[in-house]
Homo-oligomer: 486 residues x 2
C-alpha cells in the first residue's frame, strides 16, 4: 500500500485551529446533536450528558475523553494478507466510487446493474492502485432490493481479495455483512473462527453518514451499533455541501464537521470503548446559481487541506473523497475537477480515500472510462509523492563529463543503465506525435480509457478462494435470500 | 495581479539543498559553460574567469557575487499602469502559451497565422487572469519571416495594454523590440522620452533559452546583450527535457539547471550590473519509450517544487511553465496534465508563469479551447490560494441556531446575505443536472470552451491608445519593414 512520506501541506495557523476548536465546542454544547435512536441517547445520558428528546447536549471535554480512546492507527485485514491495509499515520488507502445509481460507458448512461457491479469489482481487483473496491461501487438496480446487500458483499468478497466496505442500509444488513465477513475469515471452519479472527483484526469498514446538519439518522445508527459492537471500524462522515447542509462559509463548515464527527465518534466509543473509527469528511458546496452540488471546487480543496490538519490535531485517522467532479461526461472538466480534489488529498495525506476511481456527475454515475483516468492520476500521484533521493551519486556528474556542451544524453552510459524505469510510465496518457496519433485512430484519452478497461476485464483473473469458504458463503446468501422473501 | 499569500510547499531538506549546491558548483567549475559569443567570453575573461575557446570555467563564488547583484523584486511597467506587474516575492505573473507553430480550434489543427496571433492577443487582453499575452503566442507563419517580429510586437502593444515579451531571434530583432517599446512609453514625444521611462522601470521581458546542456547560443546571447544593456529583464531558462538535454535523474537536472541559469545570470550582471533577471525553469522529461517530450509528469511537478525552493535559496525570482501537457487534443489528458503542472506552480509560488493558457501537444499547438480551460484553472487556483479568514464571525453560529438539526441552510439569513459571492463561480465548468445538460445540447467542456472563446472575441474591445503613439509605431514598422526587404 502507499505510504506518503512527503511533507503535509498545512494552511491553518494555531490561532485558526483555536477558533475552529471553540466553534465545534459551542455547537455540540449549545445547539446539540440529534441522535434518532433511543439507545444512542440512552448511552449519552448514562454517561452524564444532558439530553432533550433526541437532542444530546455534549460536554466538549467529555467528547475529547471519548475521542482519546480511538486507536490512532490500526489494520484492516483482507482475505489475501498481502492486501491487508494499515489505517493512520502516513498510510493512504484508496477505494473506488461508492453509491452511484447509474453507470456510463462511452456515450451510454444507464441504470447500473449487478453485472456492472461485478465488472467494477473486477477492475478494482485488477489495479494495485486501489486497496478496495469500496462498498456500493454502483447500485445493482436489477437485484432484488431486500437481498441486494448479500449480492454486493458476495461479489466484493469473491471477485476481489481486498478489503471491502459493509452495508449500512439497516442494522440487519450490517449484521449480514458481519456474518459473511466471519465466514470469509473462518478458514472454512465456520463463523466462530472467523469471529475470533475479525475480533483480533477488523475486516470490514463501513461508511456512516451524518444527515447534516447535526442529525444522525436511525438506520445509519442501527448499522453503526452493529459494526461498533463487533469492533469493526466505521467512517463517521458529516455530509456537507455548503449552502445546503452547512452555512456558506468554510470555517463554519469545518467547525460543524468537527461537531458532527466528534459526536459520532463519541458514540462509537460508548458502544465499544477503543473501537476503531475514521474521521470522515465529505465537504464541498452547492452551486448557488443552479442549486446543484459542485465538486472539485477551490472551496472543497481548501476544506480538504484544513480537514487533514484538524484530524491530525485531534489524533484521528481521516477520510476524504478522491476524484470528485460535477461533470456529465469523462471530459476535461471531469479530469481537472478530479485532480483538483485528488492532489490536495495527497498534500493532506488522507488515510482513507473513497471515490478514488470512477466517480462522475456528482456521484450519480460510476463511469468506466473515468475509472481508468483516475487510475492514471493515482499512478502519477504515487510517484509524485515519493520523496526524491538526493545524493552525490544522483547528480550523475559523470554524464555531464561524457556529454559536455550542447550534446544530448540519449546514448549516455548513465541513461542506458536507467532508461527502462527512470521515469513514470503512463497507463493512459499519450505522448505520440500528431502523425502517429492520427495513424492510430486519433483517439482522445477517454476513448483510449475505453479500450483499457475492456482489455483489463478481458484479462481479469479471479483471486483463488477456498471451496469450503465459498460454499459457506453461498449457503448463507441462499438461506438469507429466502428469509428476506426475495 | 495575484499575490500568493498561502504557504509554499517545500520538499527539499537542507541536506538536499547542500548536495544540489555542490552539484552546480562542480559543473560550472569543472565542466564549464559554453558561450557561443566572443563578447560574452571576453566579459568573463576580463572578470578573471578561466576560458578555453567558448568554454568558460566559472568560480562558484564569483558566480554568487554576480547573482547577489540581481534585484530580488522589481516592476515591469505596462502601458496601462493598472496592468504593471511586480516580479518577485509572493507575486505571480501569468502569460499565455509561447512559441507554437500550429493552432487548434475544435477538430481543426492547422498552421498558425497572424490572424490567430491577433485573436489570441485579444483573448489574453480579455481575461484578467492573464498579466500578459506573452510573446510568440503562436508563430504567425503567413507573415514575412524577416519582419514578423515587428508584426508581433505591434500586435502585443496595440491589441493589449498589458506587459509583453520581446523578440529573441536575433540582436537586431531585440533592438527593434526595444525601439518599439521606447515609442510605446514615449507618450507620443518620441523614443527619447520612452527610453528614459523604460530606464526607470523596465517595460519588456524576454525569454533567453539555454541550448542545454551547458551551451548558450549566439543568437540568444545577441538578444540577451541588447536587453540587458537596456536594463530590460531576461528570463534565463535552461531547457531541460531529462533524458535528452539532461541526465535521467531529477537531482542531476536540478544541479544542471542551477549551473546553466547561474552562469547566464552572471553574464547578465557583467553586461549591466543590477540588471533584473528571472531564474527560468523548463524542466520535464522525455518518454523513454517514444522519445517524445512528456509534460505534466510527476517528475516535472517534483522538479517544479524543488526549483521554487532553490530560487528562494539563492534569492532569485523564478519562472516556470503553466498548463503544460503532451495531449493531442483538449481532452481529459490535456486537463489533468496541465493541472498537474499548474497546481505545483501555485504551491511553489512561481513568480513568472509562461504557457499558462492555451498550450497543447507539447507546445506545438496553441489551442483556443485549451486557452479557456486554462483560464478556468487559473480562476479556480487564484481562489484556492487565497488564505481563509477564520474568525469567530466566520463560524456563523447564528445560522446553526436558526437551522437546527436535519434542516437546510438554503434560506438561512446568513446564506441570503452571502449567496451571490460566497463561492467560486465557474466560467466553463457545468454543474447542470443530466437532463438539463442534455437539453442544452449535451456539450462537453471542450465544446463549451469553443463557445466561450468565440463570444469573448465577439465582445473584445481594443484598449485605447494615443493616436500619436500609434502613428509612431506604424511609421517605425513601415520603415523597418522596407529596410528588412519585406
Amino acid at each position: 500500500m502507499f505510504v506518503n512520506r512527503m511533507p503535509r501541506y498545512e494552511i491553518l495557523s494555531p490561532d485558526a485551529i483555536a477558533v475552529l476548536d471553540k466553534g465545534w465546542r459551542r455547537i455540540v454544547s449549545e445547539v446539540g446533536v440529534q441522535f434518532a435512536k433511543p439507545e444512542a441517547v440512552d448511552l449519552f445520558a448514562k454517561a452524564g450528558q444532558r439530553t432533550d428528546g433526541e437532542i444530546v447536549y455534549l460536554d466538549p471535554e467529555f467528547v475529547l475523553e471519548q475521542v482519546a480512546k480511538v486507536p490512532r492507527e490500526f489494520d484492516i485485514q483482507a482475505r489475501n494478507p498481502a492486501n491487508t491495509v494499515h489505517i493512520g499515520g502516513d498510510h493512504m488507502v484508496f477505494g473506488a466510487v461508492y453509491g452511484s445509481p447509474f453507470v456510463r460507458e462511452g456515450a451510454v448512461r444507464r441504470d447500473a446493474t449487478l453485472d456492472d457491479f461485478h465488472k467494477l469489482c473486477q477492475l478494482s481487483q485488477a489495479f494495485p492502485q486501489l486497496d478496495t473496491a469500496g462498498g456500493v461501487i454502483c447500485e445493482p438496480n436489477d437485484a432484488p432490493l431486500d437481498s441486494r446487500h448479500l449480492d454486493m458483499i458476495h461479489a466484493l468478497s469473491t471477485l476481489t481479495d481486498k478489503i471491502y466496505m459493509g452495508n449500512v442500509v439497516s442494522g440487519p444488513n450490517a449484521a449480514d455483512t458481519i456474518a459473511m465477513t466471519e465466514i470469509l475469515f473462518g478458514g472454512g471452519a465456520g463463523r466462530e473462527a472467523g469471529h475470533a479472527s475479525i475480533e483480533r483484526t477488523p475486516a470490514v469498514v463501513s461508511l456512516i453518514n451524518c444527515n447534516s446538519p447535526l442529525r444522525w439518522d436511525d438506520r445509519m445508527l442501527d448499522a453503526q451499533f452493529e459494526y461498533c459492537a463487533a469492533g469493526q471500524p466505521v467512517v463517521l462522515t458529516p455530509f456537507l455541501l455548503m449552502g445546503a447542509m452547512s452555512p456558506v462559509s468554510i470555517p463554519a463548515a469545518l467547525a460543524q464537521q468537527l461537531a458532527e464527527a466528534m459526536a459520532g465518534i463519541a458514540l462509537a466509543q460508548l458502544i465499544r470503548p477503543g473501537c476503531p473509527v475514521i474521521f470522515g469528511s465529505f465537504l464541498s458546496n452547492i452551486d448557488m446559481q443552479s442549486g446543484s452540488p459542485s465538486f472539485g471546487t477551490p472551496e472543497s480543496a481548501i476544506g480538504l487541506l484544513c480537514t487533514g490538519q484538524l484530524a491530525r490535531h485531534y489524533g484521528l485517522p481521516f477520510r476524504t473523497g478522491g476524484g470528485l467532479n460535477s461533470s456529465q461526461t469523462a471530459d476535461a472538466q471531469a479530469a481537472y475537477e478530479s485532480l483538483m480534489t485528488l492532489l490536495p488529498t495527497f498534500l493532506a495525506g488522507a488515510n482513507f480515500v473513497m471515490h478514488a476511481a470512477g466517480w462522475l456527475e456528482g456521484g450519480l454515475v460510476s463511469c468506466y472510462e473515468k475509472f481508468i483516468i483516475d487510475i492514471e492520476l493515482l499512478r502519477e500521484l504515487r510517484v509524485e509523492f515519493t520523496p526524491l533521493e538526493i545524493t552525490e551519486e544522483s547528480l550523475a556528474f559523470g554524464a555531464h563529463v561524457e556529454v559536455g556542451h550542447g550534446g544530448h544524453f540519449l546514448g549516455a552510459a548513465h541513461t542506458m543503465e536507467r532508461f527502462r524505469d527512470c521515469f513514470y510510465r503512463p497507463l493512459l496518457s499519450s505522448t505520440a506525435n500528431f502523425e502517429r496519433w492520427l495513424r492510430y485512430g486519433g483517439k482522445d484519452a477517454t476513448e483510449r480509457a475505453g479500450e483499457i478497461w475492456r482489455s483489463t476485464l478481458d484479462s481479469y483473473q479471479p483471486p483463488p478462494l477456498d471451496d469450503a469458504i465459498r460454499a459457506e458463503l453461498d449457503d448463507y446468501v441462499s438461506r438469507r435470500r429466502v428469509e428476506l422473501g426475495d
